[in-house]
């Protein structure tokens, strides 16, 4: 009984860590994707400075998601990682390029563009790979015993490409609305413009993924549309529509903060939709969270740490954001 409860608790903890990662690294990966749309060095400096103090903490949630999965659901980690081999390696290499660009681009004058290209290329590669990985998980992987049993290109399908592109669009929206919040003047006007474009694209992407998902497995169709499940699932698309209206209104009224947080709400709803589709599987249609769960004493041992430390972590992370609050001034760059 305790084991069952722990598996659900841990499923929520991992889901929370991954969501916090998507929320926090999503906008800073989005800034990298938007980089080519801001060719002025002055604008790029501001964009970089808006996120430089916090990007490292943002990426730590990715390590917690991966490390937590290994610790709490080792079987799922052991099956999914080889199944997603190519997208995972691509993501890691992308993160290398964009991560070093934060410091390297200030360390050189003549080659500056090289690290700007690395920042853009690494960001879009990592995002595409994350989106593809998500699609590949949703469509399910071939499991044999306690191992991945498929080939190293199984992940590549039209659906995984769709989710990859969708995530690029989604992170771009987060990046654009972040810039609305953190910048001023012409830069912010451009960010408003981009927010419109990426919001419309994001709605298209949400629609396409929502239509495609039920065709992957009959279970997904059943989960969403069968009676009485529909009573619980119907509010999700309704809420998406409501948030969209608010977001459009906030962009039309040129609010500073609302667009970013409403874009996050849109992400949260999409994420909840994913959770509804997947539950209770951690490897869809093959391995449930209970089958993958580590022994209770491992999950319990970590739960103590998580319960005590996550609030503390959220606290000092919030403090770091508070220290660097407000608009980033272009004239403050001295490099």
């Amino acid at each position: 009984m305790i084991a069952i409860d722990l598996a659900i608790i841990w499923a929520f903890i991992i889901a929370f860590a991954v969501f916090v990662y998507v929320v926090m690294d999503g906008f800073d990966l989005g800034l990298g994707i938007l980089f080519p749309l801001f060719p002025e060095k002055r604008d790029r400096d501001v964009i970089m400075n808006s996120v430089a103090p916090v990007w490292d903490g943002n990426e730590t949630w990715l390590v917690l998601g991966g490390g937590g999965l290994m610790a709490a659901f080792p079987l799922a980690y052991a099956v999914l990682m080889p199944a997603l081999y190519t997208p995972m390696i691509a993501m890691l290499l992308g993160l290398v390029f964009r991560g070093v660009a934060f410091e390297f681009r200030w360390r050189t004058t003549k080659e500056r563009n090289r690290w700007d290209i690395a920042f853009f290329g690494g960001s879009i590669l990592a995002t595409l790979a994350q989106g593809i990985a998500l699609g590949a998980i949703l469509q399910g992987v071939h499991v044999e015993g306690r191992h991945y049993g498929g080939g190293w290109w199984d992940w590549l399908t039209p659906f995984s490409i769709l989710t990859g592109v969708s995530l690029v669009i989604g992170y771009s929206l987060l990046g654009a609305t972040w810039l609305v919040m953190k910048t001023e003047g012409a830069l912010r006007d451009r960010a408003y413009h981009l927010s419109w474009i990426f919001l419309l694209a994001m709605l298209g992407a949400i629609g396409a993924v929502s239509i495609a998902t039920p065709f992957l497995h009959v279970q997904y169709t059943h989960r969403w549309f069968a009676w009485p499940n529909i009573l619980l699932t119907a509010p999700v698309p309704v809420a998406v529509a409501a948030v969209t209206v608010l977001l459009l209104r906030s962009l039309a009224n040129k609010y500073d903060y609302q667009p970013f947080f409403l874009a996050l709400a849109l992400f949260a709803l999409s994420y909840a939709g994913l959770g509804i589709s997947m539950y209770p599987y951690v490897v869809p249609q093959s391995i449930t969270i209970w089958q993958a769960a580590a022994p209770a004493n491992s999950q319990l041992f970590m739960l103590v740490g998580v319960a005590g430390l996550i609030p503390l972590i959220l606290g000092y992370t919030a403090w770091a954001y508070w220290v660097f609050r407000g608009k980033v001034k272009p004239e403050s760059g001295y490099h």
Binding site: Y77, Y85, T86, V96, S298, G305, V306, V323, F324
Partner: protein
Amino acid sequence: MFEGWDAVVLARAQFAFTMSFHIIFPAFSIGLASYLAVLEALWLATGREVYINLFNYWLKIFAVAFGMGVVSGIVMSYQFGTNWSAFSDKTGPVIGPLMAYEVLTAFFLEAGFLGVMLFGLNRVGPRLHFLATLMVAIGTLISAFWILSANSWMQTPAGHTVNEAGQFIAADWLKVIFNPSFPYRLVHMVLAAYLTTALVVGAVGAWHLLRDRHLAGPRVMFSMAMWMATLVAPIQILAGDQHGLNTLEHQPVKIMAMEGHFESHKDGAPLILFGLPNQSAGRVDYAIEVPKLGSLILKHSLDAPMAGLDTVPRENWPPVPITFWSFRIMVGLGFLIAGLGLFSLLMRLSGKLYDSRLLHMFALLMGPAGFMAVLAGWITTETGRQPYTVYGLLRTVESASPLAAPAVASSLIAFIIVYFAVFTAGIIYLLRLMAAPPHPGEEGPSHEVPIRTAGITPAAGAVAEGAAR
């Protein structure tokens, strides 16, 4: 392409390659974070400008090195799953939580306060800023604690049982965490990190003293670094010896490989200084050895019998030549570092610390010695525990992911290309930062308005010390 290759060998090559690159950065940033905390504390306590100049100087270097450590570290955290999935499934319940605690107690602490440490001095004020520096330094040490605990458990597993799915599960978490080799490995590694940083700081100081022996910043950093070498290198030799005795107790086969002891010696084993270990023939060719010294060092008795690899089935032998040589490189460098410490002490006592060009040349040459010793030490301990991932319990070949060789070969090539491109550039930037001497009014890595030390001097009335000091 690569169809005939062994996927496990490729996966090992990839792990060794990415790990070797990664370890360089934490080895440096553990020591440097502590050094920065000391510099900032000295600045707060004395108000002397030279300390804040040095702090800002090394902070810029820290920012670049730390960034490289973070990105190469994320690679490591996912590689357990991508390339060693069978290992992850079986050991996840035991070492997974140790790594999760590393993330929760160390990575977040470092990352959460790093932004304030790098860019926040003029936003939060000196005291809160010092707290951030301290948190980052403590974070690096906590990180070392957990990751070395996990590694040590793989070397000397304890406190576990095995469940019906074949997974290791913890029976006693304290025994898992404080497994037999952990305290020795932790001390040895943290001291290694401090020495590595001291050698880099000393070399940078020496480089600038060679050009101008009156510069205030280089004098202070050189003196501090040489104190570290003088005091800590002998302690490190002692700690290494104790770690070796612990290894003899728990992983005797590793010691046999390190010593090149293919044959058993009933009445006193020699110490083989040099030679060419011949794995297939099971002997050391052209060995130069001191009779009975091996037994004296390892068993503290000239005639103590010592078993050799001839008592171990061949399929359980580690690769002897690599283990044998990497161990000698580490020990040789260790004694050279201690020699530098001793030489600097003699020069210090005779008042020539800042004037001896010979000492400065020596210190400059020893700049990379810490990195080389750390790498050689890790190669010794990781190669010497083969053919196992969990010592004596889980073989390396049973740990790998079910991946086709072309997949691993492709990723290995990608890692080699990207790492050489990215980290070569990073090391050039680091060397460029180190090539310029610290100067009065040194700015931190902040991309904002330059910090003017006059505005944030902690002790009221502290007078700026010019370059004349």
